[in-house]
């Protein structure tokens, strides 16, 4: 009995000494473990994928974690775009591998699954790659921050800015499933609100290889703007075929509602020129971004950073700042609360805030893809058409139906 007592006393003393002595000792097992859960093998590999791991690593390096005595480890995995694989990995990371935070997760289905697992395990989830605005809407969680963009911001930004710059008649080519319908509905609401007109819409089956009949209808509608309410392969295909039909040359403009730098890269400027869309970040906008891209590209097969990569960098930076101040990474809710209470500031996204519903607020930008002769260097693809100020860029907090914002 004496032995047990003395061991207990020793343990207590040690605990007290640890708590009083070193400040960093509160961090679970002394290591901050960041899990980058992303798509390494399928349609989001280039726009997120390995680049997101690179971005997280760069954030840790630039933060100077090692110099500050914080031990940070990064692990990564491929969720294969399967929600069950993603949620299994998330569970294992949290339960067995002592991961403290999961970042990125392109693919909304997987992100929503990880959102629930993170809530259950009280860890932290920083979303950069997923689009669903439900993450800060009715599925919002005190453990989740949605960093880069969402469907509402894209629809709103593109719709609003285009109508403002004269594109007041629209025709939609919509992918025929919930996601496409949502994008179309969100965008047309904005277009109408701004005084524009929606001349019509056509529903295209998901993953169809042939857009000719839909493009002909769009052409015949004489709308100034053809809105592409689709994603991934459908967007790429519809843009390619629109170029073959001479839609842009005929005076109409294409508005993509979910387009990334890497999509434009794979399409090539002759095909993609004239396309208008909203993004949160572009590498060639200022010196800080260019410096980031110059360091990033060699580490990711020459791919220049997309807004998702920049979002991962920015989110991880802010997370590390919050940990540094809170000196605690075990209670996910507390960490996220800390992150929300601090204004965000980093070299890529500049100054910003995080709302109560977990939405990171920053400026969004409307870009147009350059003509081939305007492009001066590799990856020189966008020209800025408008800046959407942070206050207008995201869904108003009271319209999201997030339970966290009701008290």
């Amino acid at each position: 009995m004496r032995g047990v007592k003395s061991v207990k006393a020793l343990g207590l003393a040690a605990a007290v000494a640890l708590a009083a002595g070193t400040a960093q000792a509160q961090v679970s097992d002394g290591v901050i473990k960041i899990g980058v859960l992303t798509d390494m093998s399928s349609l989001y590999t280039d726009l997120a994928g390995a680049g997101s791991v690179v971005a997280a690593k760069m954030a840790v390096e630039d933060f100077g974690a090692a110099a500050k005595g914080m031990k940070v480890e990064i692990v990564s995995a491929d969720h294969q775009n399967k929600p069950d694989v993603g949620s299994a990995i998330a569970r294992q990371w949290y339960d067995a591998d002592k991961v403290d935070v999961i970042v990125d997760v392109p693919n909304s289905g997987v992100a929503l699954a990880v959102n629930e697992v993170t809530r259950e395990k009280n860890k932290v989830f920083l979303v950069s790659g997923a689009a669903s605005s439900a993450l800060t809407g009715d599925k919002c969680s005190p453990n989740t921050i949605h960093w880069t963009y969402d469907t509402w911001a894209l629809a709103n930004g593109t719709g609003r800015a285009i109508v403002k710059t004269g594109g007041d008649t629209w025709f939609f080519i919509t992918a025929d499933y919930a996601f496409g319908h949502q994008l179309e509905a969100d965008t047309s609401a904005v277009v109408k609100e701004m005084g524009g007109k929606v001349l019509g819409a056509v529903r295209a089956p998901l993953n169809t290889p042939d857009f000719s009949s839909f493009l002909l209808q769009a052409q015949a509608s004489k709308a100034k703007i053809v809105g592409l309410a689709n994603a991934g392969g459908d967007t790429v295909n519809s843009i390619k075929q629109a170029s073959e039909f001479g839609i842009v040359k005929g005076g109409q403009n294409l508005a993509g509602l979910l387009v990334f730098l890497t999509d434009v890269h794979s399409l090539g400027l002759p095909v993609a020129q004239g396309l208008i869309f909203t993004e949160a970040w572009y590498w060639d906008m200022n010196d800080a971004n260019r410096a980031f891209a110059a360091k990033f590209a060699p580490q990711d097969k020459g791919i220049h950073p997309t807004m998702i990569h920049a979002g991962v960098y920015s989110a991880v930076t802010h997370y590390l700042k919050a940990i540094e101040q809170a000196k605690n990474d075990t209670d996910g809710k507390a960490v996220v609360a800390k992150m929300k209470s601090m204004p965000t500031d980093d070299k890529l996204f500049g100054k910003g805030t995080i709302r109560a519903d977990g939405r990171h607020i920053h400026d969004m930008y409307l870009f147009e893809v350059k003509k081939p002769d305007e492009s001066k260097k590799p990856w020189d693809y966008y020209k800025l058409r408008a800046t959407i100020p942070a206050a207008e860029a995201f869904r108003p907090v009271d319209k999201g139906n997030c339970p966290l914002t009701k008290s």
């Binding site: 390494m40 093998s41 590999t45 994928g49 390995a50 692990v75 990564s76 995995a77 491929d78 969720h79 294969q80 775009n81 399967k82 929600p83 069950d84 694989v85 949620s87 299994a88 990995i89 569970r91 294992q92 339960d95 067995a96 909304s108 289905g109 929503l112 699954a113 959102n115 629930e116 669903s132 439900a134 599925k139 025929d176 499933y177 919930a178 996601f179 998901l206």
Partner: protein, 318 residues
């Protein structure tokens, strides 16, 4: 070695009891060594592969649309647990019943044709189910049904507890597995094998082949549904992945890899495929390549699958 060619002899199967006991013991110990969620996922797929094997391995029907039973049951179970608020056991049963009903309809249509036509009909109907799942309101489109409550089974077993959940899944898997064993070794199962070997001869012997095939099909669909419903409760979600045609392909891979027409093969195959998906996830794009290579090696080097080759080596049906 006449006994090997005469599986009717009752003692020819005695070793299977030993293997079964070993498997049960293994599954009782494993959760203390390996991460239980991975095991639960593997067990669900093992049951799915066993159900598929009942058709392909013992009846000779190559279905290429089995994902529809897994996925549809997943959606029904998830919806039942989340929206209707049913306890998990009823939710899983609802999913199983839905898949059995779906199996009856699909089976009635599909068993009229053989070989590639049968496969194509099942594939086409599975694609229709996929399209329905994508469009219908209650499935949540590409987001799926999320945050399904695990609930309390029979009013006493709290499934929030990981170990409780594991043993419930294990019990469901073993029940399904034993049912399949019983079916295979029954006179009914003998008729199925006769149909597999030579359908015209089975007809000439006076068996109503259509009826036997249909029953086997419905059984397989129901057991796939049991797996899908359980999986939805384990992962607390139902998503398009499970109704997608690639899932139908994955179950073929599991069954072929483990050993088509063997009792334990699909279990082994499912564990290998799921382990590759989970433990190779760090390798990124190499996961799918590794799967492809394994499939090619399997088809080229050991066509009977791992357990099938082992059984041939030991000269015993496994």
């Amino acid at each position: 070695m006449a006994r090997d060619t005469a599986p009717r002899a009752k003692n020819g199967y005695r070793h299977q009891y030993a293997i079964f006991a070993f498997m049960v013991a293994l599954f009782l110990v494993l959760p203390y060594v390996i991460y239980p969620v991975f095991l639960m996922q593997a067990l669900c797929f093992a049951l799915f592969a066993c159900a598929f094997n009942l058709l392909i391995g013992y009846t000779g029907l190559v279905s290429f649309g089995h994902a529809m039973f897994l996925g549809a049951a997943g959606y029904i179970s998830a919806h039942a647990a989340k929206v209707w608020g049913l306890p998990p056991e009823l939710a899983i049963l609802a999913g199983t019943a839905a898949s059995a009903a779906l199996g009856l309809v699909v089976g009635l249509l599909a068993i009229r044709r053989q070989g590639i036509y049968f496969a194509m009909i099942t594939l086409a109907l599975a694609q229709m189910i996929f399209f329905f799942s994508l469009q219908a309101k209650f499935t949540g489109g590409e987001d799926g049904i999320q945050s399904v409550p695990r609930g309390v089974m029979f009013g006493i077993l709290n499934l929030q507890d990981m170990m409780t959940m594991y043993f419930v899944v294990l019990a469901i898997f073993l029940a399904g597995f034993l049912l399949i064993c019983r079916v295979i070794h029954s006179p009914f199962g003998q008729v199925l094998k006769a149909i597999r070997e030579n359908e015209p001869r089975a007809i000439s012997l006076g068996y109503n082949v259509h009826q036997y095939k249909l029953i086997a099909f419905v059984l397989s669909a129901a057991l796939s549904g049991l797996a899908g419903g359980t999986k939805a409760i384990v992962f607390q979600l139902a998503s398009l992945t499970d109704v997608h045609w690639t899932m139908s392909g994955e179950v073929v891979l599991m069954t072929l890899l483990g050993g088509m027409g063997t009792l334990f093969g699909p279990v082994v195959g499912a564990f290998i495929v799921i382990a590759m998906q989970n433990y190779l996830a760090q390798l990124g794009s190499w996961v799918t390549i590794a799967q492809g290579v394994v499939f090619v090696i399997c088809v080229l080097a050991f066509r009977r699958g791992i357990v099938g080759e082992l059984g041939r080596f030991l000269k015993k049906p496994l």
